[in-house]
Structure formats: C-alpha cells, structure tokens
Symmetry: C2
Subunit: 529 residues, 2 copies
C-alpha cells in the first residue's frame, strides 16, 4: 500500500473524510484564543473524541487578519489521527514504522515546487511583508509564553564536513521579522553536532525551516533515527516513494517541494542569546535558555499557506502521544533484541509522565534474573529517561493504570523489590533545580520489580467458564453494554492444589456440604475437637 498523501492538504482532507477534523470558520485570535481552545479537548475529552483543528479565519492581538490558515492537533491528537497521518491502519502503526526504517529512499528533485510559488528574498523584501511574523504562528501558552514559537518546524541542515542531511523538529521563537530562536534539548541532538562542526570550521550553518510538510516528513523528523540517516530518506521509506524536493533560493539545501512555508537562513554558531521561557511537555514552564538564532535570508510559501503547529505543553498532547508510540517501539526493540531478553512483551509509556518519567516493561514468564536485567537495561538506554521503571507480568494491562496499581500493591515488597539508582541525567525536570534553574546537577531513578516470580494463589474472580456464561446471560437480560477490563475472570498462578480444585468443583455442582463435613473431622491447629 503506498502512502496516500502528497502534501499536508491531502492529509487534512483525509481527516475531514473520517470526521477527524474540526474546521473553524469564525475569527480566532492566534495570540490569545487559538491554542487555549484546542487545549480544552486535551483536558476535557477522552482520546478517541479528540480531533484535528483547522482555523480558516485567523486574527491576532494587533487586529491583523492573515491570508493563511492554522492546522493544529492534526498529526497526533489521537492514535486514529496519528494513523491517518502515517497512512496506516491503527493496528499497523508499529509494522509500518519497522518497514519504513528498513527501506529508506533518497529524495528526488522536481521542477514543480508549490512551496516556492511566493518568494521573498533579502532584507528589504522580507521586511516589507513583516518577515516570519507575517504568518499566523500561534502563542502556545498565553499568560506565560513571551512570544509565538514554531512548534512543528522541520529544521533542515547539512553536516558541514560530510554534507549529510539532518531534519529535526526543534522549537523556534519568533524574535523578529528576520530572527528565529533555535532551542535544542541536549548536545547529542543532530543539529547540535552540525552547529559544533560549523563553529570549529569558523563558518555559519545554513538552515531551512519547513512548516507544513507532508506528514511523512514531520513524523520522520520527530522519530529518533541514527546519525547520518537522513529523515528525507526515512520519509521516502514511509511513503514508499521519493520525497519531492527543490533547491532552496539562498542556501545550499534542498527543501520539500510541497511544503506550505519555507524559511531559509543562516545560524552564527558563535552567537547565543536568551530564549524562552516556553511551556514544556513536562507540564511546567521551561527555563530561559541561552541559544542560537536563525538569521532569515528568504521566505517562500504556497498560496494561502496552512501553518501547521503541534500542540505540546501540558500532557497529554500531540508531543506525548507521538512519544508514547515511538518510545514503545524503540525500547521494546532494544530490550528484546538488543539485550536479548526474549520474555519482554512490550514497554508502555505514560503521557502524564511526558513519556519520559515513568514506564512499564511487561514480561511473559521471565526466567530468573530477567525482570531485573530488563529494569537495569531499560534504565541504561538513555540516562534522562525513566524516573520510575516498573516490571510487570503479562497478565497486567499496562494501559490501565489501575491494573498497574494492583500489581504494585500485591506483587511487591518495597524492601525487596525496589531499588534506587543515582547519577541519572535530569531533563526538563524542575524537581532538582540548580541555582533556581534546570537542568539540574543530579537526578535518580526508582526500579520496581512487580512480577510475581513464584507461586501465587489464583486471582479471585470466578473462573473463565462461569464468567463467559455470565456474559451471555448479561446480554440476554438486556443489561447495559460492557467494556471489560483485564482481568475479568480468575486464573491460577502456580499455587493451587488438587484438593483446592476438587473442592471448588464439588461446590459448583452443589456438593459443598460434603466438604464442610470433611473439614469438621480434620481438627485445627490447637489439636482440639
């Protein structure tokens, strides 16, 4: 099956056909109203009711009206929306990613580039329209953010030595008509490597910032892929065909031909200045950072461009949903194949923990030592990931926090099953501030083995035949539709005797008084009777 979207607009049409797009034609102020409106669905609707939003009549706090629309929450407001962006069935998300990563395709230059239909080159032309501020970039966290930030820009740069492409999503602060602040989390991010090399070579780093790319490129750019593998090629793998690109006007970079908006420019690697604060996915405002700036040299765009933004900040959000899907794949593969722990079934990340801080590794009949091997290995993949890591058995549904609480309650003894790991790396975590700022100097993790690992008595629910029969009667009686959670019938866990089974079988055919009579003859621990 080939990828169904040629550009962002095709994807928005697909969402609309599936009832997954809310089109708002009423005027909306991008500085004060737009993100708060969409935010409400993340605090007030269950995931399966969340949709993408397309705002067609965007205004701002200065009374401007934009000849552009804003698409937000259109990539990952729910798993169904994400699957649509990926061009896959819901159940095929993991398989689609595995297939794409195994078959990258180099991009292909094309002559027809809608992304360059409108062109503004040089300071005079840019300043005449207002530069990057001529487009409706929304303020994400009105009341706390100090500017609009690009939340879904794909930053395209090339390794100054090898020429290899990298495309990554890093937020961009709108600082002036020709100035966009760049903020990267850690020095291991690929654009940081490019910047460090440019600094060593004593020259600026050229960059193009893509807004409103075909979804395959954006999804490839937020996924962690190995250094040197271009996200252009990964996007090609996802699409099953080459990404269409065209040369940029003022920098030596190819840019996507069907993007909505392209901002070209140069980054002086020696210039840093204050940036932010910005509302982070942790659920807290991040700190003011000291960061580089893109000096804009040109802007090109499609007619009436669609400015696409991610809704991030307080979890859950598009960011955390994309992480939940991506991290689950990456960690499962690492533990099961990289570390050879075959009993690992899946790894589940939690959006209220921003998918960084807490996750659950589910194992199926782990052999001796494997639960702790998996816990330590999971902690070792990335030092900033996993403040609380829990191992559970495969009868626990990790998507159900209540099931995890049940496992923690009755399958652990803290002194035996909990260990604290020091010397971790904090990341956007205000719980250990240094000089009233983070990242902090020290952080730690807690590993919890909540697997039973020995004989346990059966789960105290009627056994499967009785519950199956009850479900049938429930329906016959016309009672309200059920949405059953695991476990919904009892099962053995190693500690249950033949005598127990015999007595239960007798009871179910009404012969329990025979058991009662027999027990009377057995006497008690006091020896009396």
């Amino acid at each position: 099956m080939s990828y169904p979207h040629r550009d962002l607009r095709d994807h928005l049409d697909a969402l609309e056909r599936s009832g997954l797009l809310i089109r708002v034609r009423e005027p909306i102020n991008k500085d004060t109203e737009l993100v708060p409106l969409v935010r409400l669905q993340f605090r007030g609707l269950p995931e399966d009711q969340r949709r993408g939003f397309l705002f067609e009549h965007v205004t701002d706090a200065r009374g401007r009206r934009f000849d552009a629309s804003v698409a937000i929450a259109t990539f990952a407001s729910s798993r169904q929306v994400y699957a649509t962006a990926l061009g896959a069935d819901l159940s095929q998300i993991g398989a689609t990613w595995q297939r794409a990563l195994g078959a990258p395709q180099p991009p292909r230059r094309v002559a027809d580039a809608p992304s360059q239909e409108h062109r503004y080159v040089g300071a005079a032309e840019l300043d005449a329209i207002g530069g990057v501020d001529a487009f409706p970039h929304p303020i994400s966290t009105p009341g706390f953010d100090n500017a609009p930030f690009l939340t879904a820009p794909c930053w395209v740069t090339r390794d100054p030595e090898t020429g290899d492409y990298n495309v990554g999503v890093y937020r961009g602060m709108i600082k002036g008509p020709r100035r966009v602040g760049l903020q990267m989390d850690t020095p291991s991010q690929h654009i940081s490597v490019h910047l460090a090399k440019a600094r060593r070579l004593g020259r600026p780093l050229e960059a193009a910032v893509i807004v409103g790319a075909v979804p395959a490129l954006a999804l490839a750019s937020v996924q962690k892929v190995p250094y040197g593998l271009s996200e252009y090629e990964v996007a090609g793998g996802l699409m099953g065909r080459a990404l269409e690109v065209t040369p940029a006007l003022t920098v030596d970079l190819d840019v996507p031909a069907t993007a909505e908006l392209v901002i070209e420019g140069r980054i002086d690697p020696d210039h840093l200045e204050p940036e932010g604060p910005f509302g982070e996915a942790s659920g807290y405002m991040g700190p003011r950072t000291t960061s580089p700036v893109l000096e804009v040299t040109a802007i090109t765009h499609r007619p009436r461009p669609v400015v696409q933004a991610f809704i991030s900040e307080f979890p859950p959000s598009e960011s955390t949903l994309m992480r939940r899907i991506g991290f689950g794949q990456v960690y499962r593969r690492f533990l099961k194949h990289g570390c050879n722990i075959d009993s690992v079934q899946d790894v589940t990340f939690y959006e209220p923990a921003t998918c960084n801080m807490m996750f659950v590794v589910r194992l199926s009949n782990p052999s001796a030592g494997q639960a702790w091997q998996a816990l330590h290995a999971a902690a070792s993949y990335e030092p900033s990931m996993g403040k609380i890591i829990i191992a559970v058995d495969d009868d626990i549904d990790p998507d159900d926090l209540e099931a995890v609480v049940w496992a923690l309650s009755f399958r652990t003894q803290p002194h035996r099953d909990v260990r604290i790991l020091e010397h971790r790396l904090p990341r956007l975590d205000p719980s250990e501030p240094q000089d009233n700022r983070y990242p902090a100097a020290t952080a730690s993790a807690m590993l919890i083995d909540a697997t039973w690992g020995r004989g346990y008595p059966p789960v105290s629910l009627p056994s499967k035949p009785f519950m199956e029969q009850a479900r049938q009667r429930w329906e016959e009686l016309g009672l309200p539709a059920l949405s059953l959670r695991e476990p919904w019938y009892g099962y053995e866990l190693g500690e249950w005797s033949e005598e127990n089974r015999r007595e239960a079988a007798l009871a179910a055919i009404g012969r329990y008084l025979e058991t009662g009579a027999r027990l009377a003859t057995m006497g008690g621990e006091d020896g009396a009777t």
Copy 2:
C-alpha cells in the same frame, strides 16, 4: 432529617425509585451464575452506572428453587447506592458519619418482630428444612471457592465479662445445615476478644448472625468503631432513633426485629478446623485458615426473606468502596486532629489497592517537615495499612491517577524523596508468603514525598482568563461537551519573575517582537554577539 428506612426492603424500594436497582425475575443459579453476572458490572461499567441487583427467582446447582430472593451490590456498588443506604446526599456522606458517631442511641425492645415470624428451633426442626442451607447463599467465586459463604452477615456477640454488645461483619462458610465457619482477619477484631475471654472462662460464646438487616446496622458494623461502643448504638446514631430489637429464642442476645434472617448459635472457643479458601478483596484467593465454627441452635426469618450479600473479592467491589469512604474519614481525622497536621486536606484510598495498600495524603502549603510528618504518621496508624503512601500538594486531584503519576514524575527525586520502612505487618498479601502461606513474616512500606516544597515554575497551560474565555468559545462553537480534569489552566508555583510576567503580558497584546529585540542585545553565556 431522620433516616428513611425501617428495614432492608425500604432501602431496596428507594433504590428502585432512583433507578439504582436491577430486578431480575428470570431463574438464576446461585452457585454458578449469580455472582459472576453481578461481577461483570465491576469489570465492565464505570462506577456511576453500577446498580444493586435483586434476584427474585433463585435456583441452585441441585435444582432447588428458593422461596427467598437475593439482594447483592445493594449497599455500595457506587457512591450513589452507598448514599442511599446511608439515607444521605452524596455530598453529605462524611458529615452524616461524623454526626452519627457523635450521637449513638441505645436500641429499644419491641413486641412486633417480623424477623421471628418463621421459627425453627433445635436440631430436628432445623434439619427438616436443611438448616442454614435452606436459604440461597450464593457462591462468590465459582471455580475457586469451596462453598457458599455469608458475605454480609452481622455477627452479634456480647463480651462474656461485661455483657457489652459487638456487631461485626465477618464472612461465614456454609459447612453444614447447622454449622457456619467464622473467619476473622486479626486477633484485634472485637469478636476475637470475646472468643478469647470465653475460652478463658471455659464456656461457649453465644452468637446471632443477622442477614438482611436495616442498612444503618450493616454500615455501622463494617465501620471501625472503638471497642465497647455497640454498633447497635451507632446504628441508632445513624438513624436518629433507636434500633428495634427483640430477644433471641435460644441465646441471651437481642437481635434486630426487622432483619430478614437470624441464625442463632454457640461457638466453642476451643474448637478450630479448616475453613476456606475464599476469594479475597486483595484480588487473590486467600489461604485455608484454621477457624472456629458456629453451631446453630435456631433460625428465624421473615416470610420470603431477602438474603442480602456483599459482592467483595477482586477489587473494585462493595467492600473496597465501603473502605474507600470509611478509611478516608478515619485517616483524615487522625492526621489533621489526632496528629495536629493542619495542612492535611484529605486522604484518598485506591480500590485497585483494596484501599489497604496505597493511599495519597493531600496537603495544602505544608510547613517544613509536615509532609514527612504526615507520611510517617499515616504509616503508624495501623501497621498493615499502606504499602505505598504518597504526599501531594493540593493542586493534585488524588482521585485522578494520572494526576498522581504527573506528581510522581516531576515532583520527586527518588534518592531524596523516597524512603522504605521495614517491619510492617502483612495482611492478606501474597507478596511475601511464608511456607507458601500468608500472612507472612515481614513486610515493608514505601513513603514518597511528591510535594514541591520549594519554588517551582508555573504549570504550562494558558492562564485562567485565557482558558475561561476558550471555554466560552468552545460552547459558542457547539463543540462536544467537556468534562474538564484538574489542572485545566496554568498557575504560578513560586518561581516566576516580574520580567517573566511583563514579557508574557506584552506577548498577549501582540508586542512580542519588542521582547525579541531586547533579548538580541543581551548576549549569551559565551559572551559573544
């Protein structure tokens, strides 16, 4: 407002009037079908859709049909059902309890006792009808339980020395027509104290087992009240009038006059024998215990009695909901008033943790040391309660497990904020079995301080005015009804400067480029620009 129910039947009528009772007229087998059917609603429906069940046509595995009905899940399948049993508004549950405990009333003997309309006295009359087995006591966990157990019986006994009454709910195994096994969790339970005294005095303990009492008595009997305070009097406090009682026929005890079924008998304190196993509220089958037995001397009942049972076993259940409400009251009072920790707001128990194993103490601006004082005090109230105890701030909604995960993720560092407490008492906890049985020899607890306790950056949501305005626009746009979770707007937590506030205010009126220009002049930490 006086208590609206004179007997169980009044309560069932009240439930039915409120749409909270499902009346099943079709035949239902009490040994194999009845509890599994009701169990489904606890695994497959949200709490507010759960109802009580009244089965009017009860059969059993031996093909008997009973001239009696079974009421189950009629006291605490939801908070609304519980409030109806308590005769209170949902919001007044706590206040009603406090008022009742402050005004106990002694019971009053009456001449008219429907509970004694039918009478069977002595072995011959009892055996002729089948004794206790003549009534439809359901099997709770078919497939694992070895008999029907009374799950909601109120055991009435008197202190052999002082004559003081105690009424407690302890499960009863149907062992024979004239034999009911009694199982108590711990030696501190009041009936255990009576039994120990009877053993010392060398005489049997007289008891009456009440099935289908007026709800006020059952609710009083499951609540922990001080030794020596009779639950008959607490029931009077709850009702605002004396409980109607009448002398039993064969034992020196007064029994409720409007109960559905009364089983009189004697317990030989020197005779113990095997009992159980039974599906426990922990979610696991409990162990076979060695326990005393009631030798039945008489049975009396109302015409066509309603055999009332609790649905317990796997959480959530009626048991866990009753505990959640009761424990929250008891612990809040202990911490706030007993331990003088005024910042304690509430204590929340979790049904998947059987309301024993995990709870959250919420504090409002605790002063230095109070979070840990509250954690240690909460652990010290009862050594078997609280395997995971968490302190949170008052902006965390403890009923929302996702909010608790968020607090654990970003308001703790495990090495600093987690402590393990050894030498705890395990109780119905299979995680530390001794000789393949529990209770075990050792257990531990984990205390977690997830309060911020210092300056934190603001929560990354748009501030309240923007979210309020968005909510209004959401409604104007006719979008789906919201059910907002806390937090749904951003707020400050101590770490936010005047400069931050000024910049955010400028941004919201569209003057963010002024901020961008100012930042450009400030330079970065590399000193360059």
